[in-house]
Amino acid sequence: MDDSSVTAIDSYLAVLFLGDLMANATLSDLAESASISSPPSSMEIVKDRAFRGLTRGFAWLTVLVVFLVVFEVATKAMPAISAHGVSFLTSSTWDVQNEQFGVLPEIWGTLYSSLLALLIGGFFGVSIAIFLTQDFLPHQVEVAFKNIVELLAAIPSVVYGLWGIFVVIPMLRPFANWAHENLGWIPFFKTSLSGPGMLPAALVLSIMILPTVSAISRDALSNVPRKLKEAAFGLGATRWEAIIGVIVPTASTGIFGALVLGFGRALGETMALAMLVGNSNQMSISLFSPGNTLAALLANHFPEAGEREEPVLMYAALILLAITLLVNICGAFVLKHASARMRGGAK
């Protein structure tokens, strides 16, 4: 974990950590009395070291927190891991009486609902971000819209859950029934919509991640240097040619980050999903079928879990954390390659 070795910026930092005050003293001896310049006082140096130490400490604190959470979850999950092992990932019953547990449908449901949400929320989020940064609207209106969208983040999940039940599902029902009857041969419309199910859950989920996605991509887009935009326009690009050809690619790492963050949020969302997904151990490609997610499973079972169920739930939680981890690893991998290509260091 020693990181003082490689990069120049680190050696730049390391100098202050290692350097003694002597060196500064000699330089200050050299200072002309006429000059306003003075070397950093020992106070400044102490403050600097202390502050950088502090930030490093907090960075490690973040690591520690995650470690503690994982540790806590993992130790509690241990009995279940040894009892159920890999079959936990591949079986699909949840029977507390007979102590048979499997989370395959939940894993499927988690990924399915989150991907759907990412697809919808990502599309709308990025569209909004573009719409609000590329001078489509007067500045005041942009700010107003931005606030409106960020307000979506302020609505408690329970309210989203209720909204889903009372507004979204009834609205979807006619469409779903029609799709099932006329397009039932398409796997997505294979079953009829009873009420709660994947589609309503994913729709509400996508609205819940919308503020995250749009706010962060908005920042990324508005930070694209103006001169790049001007260059594109100067070449006779239309607004959209500039956006698609130059602005979005330049902001792409930021937008991608926003999407990964949104996906993470979707994976972990609890209450609204518990109310809308149907909580049924089903694995179906159909959008209208009820399903279940890991987070909803936890929300429903954890508060009352007994000794037998708790380790199993912790095991499920561990899997959820692992999925999040995996998504982030993939995200980091893609980002690394994309930004390397953009910087064009190598061929």
Binding site: P225, A231, A232, G234, L235, A237, P249, K347
Partner: protein, 273 residues
């Protein structure tokens, strides 16, 4: 002290080409700030027109009027007209995108895209759905911008990996790749060394045969060397504001040899040996 704008009529009449771009800025505002007033600068086909004047006098603003780049600035307002081949490009029916397709631009600060050198140059060609040999055009443009030798082995590297001067030449290559009818250059050489500057200047002379060029420069020598006509702008600080205006616009030789206005004289005599 402050002279009123003075456009020599014979410039209009005796240009060595027909009037291509007739720029008449009555007022140019950024929000409430009037940046430029009363500047009439007719630009003739196949000529090079230089804009000179002290920093902040509105040279860039005037130049950016010519292809409606200022439309991107919030609060920008324009009173007057700019006629391109007799059509007012500020007419409400005109598409600024189409204008910029004919009137290209090179900026003061190098602004390559975060993509490969090749793609930077090919960008405009693709935009115009150019059907010919793109690689050929890219090479031609890079040669024209005196950059080919330095980048021919690393066309796939990012445009951002070049030095400042190289970046600026890349931007010039990008702009000339699509061979626009008019090329606006806002201090294109301010980040270049003399050799590269000379090559760009030579290039301008070549391009001038077929194209029309307007250039903003701080370098009076450069104006002298390349421009057929020169517009001298100055700042009017009377009344508290800092409004730029056209002092004098005439053939370069005349302007430098026998300036008519006091402001011009003073400015030119501050010229360096």
């Amino acid at each position: 002290m402050i002279a009123t704008p003075k456009v020599e009529n014979d410039v209009l009449a005796n240009g060595n080409g027909s009037l291509l771009l007739d720029c008449n800025i009555e007022n140019l505002y950024y929000g409430n700030f009037r940046a430029v007033r009363d500047s009439h600068i007719p630009i003739h086909r196949g000529s090079i027109t230089a804009f000179i004047g002290p920093s902040g006098c509105g040279k860039s603003s005037a130049l950016r009027c010519l292809n409606r780049m200022n439309d991107l600035v919030r609060g920008f307002r324009f009173e007057g007209h700019v006629h391109f081949r007799g059509k007012d490009i500020y007419h409400s029916k005109v598409d600024p995108v189409a204008v910029r397709r004919y009137i290209g631009m090179v900026f003061q600060q190098p602004n390559p895209f975060a993509m490969s050198i090749y793609n930077n140059v090919a960008f405009g060609l693709r935009l115009n759905r150019y059907r010919g040999n793109i690689a050929e055009k890219v090479e031609k443009a890079l040669r024209g911008a005196a950059l080919w030798d330095e980048v021919k082995d690393k066309l796939k590297n990012s445009g951002l990996s070049l030095s400042g001067g190289q970046q600026q030449r890349l931007c010039i290559a990008r702009a000339i790749a699509t061979e626009p009818e008019v090329l606006l250059m806002d201090e294109p050489c301010s980040a270049l060394d003399p050799i590269a500057t000379r090559r760009i200047e030579d290039l301008m002379q070549e391009l001038k045969e077929n194209y029309t060029i307007a250039i903003v420069t701080h370098n009076l020598q450069q104006a002298k060397r390349v421009a057929d006509r020169t517009a001298f702008m100055y700042v009017d600080t009377s009344g508290g504001g800092r409004t730029g205006y056209l002092v004098e616009f005439r053939d370069t030789d005349e302007l430098f040899d026998s300036p008519q206005e006091d402001a011009t004289k003073q400015y030119i005599s501050g010229e360096f040996s």
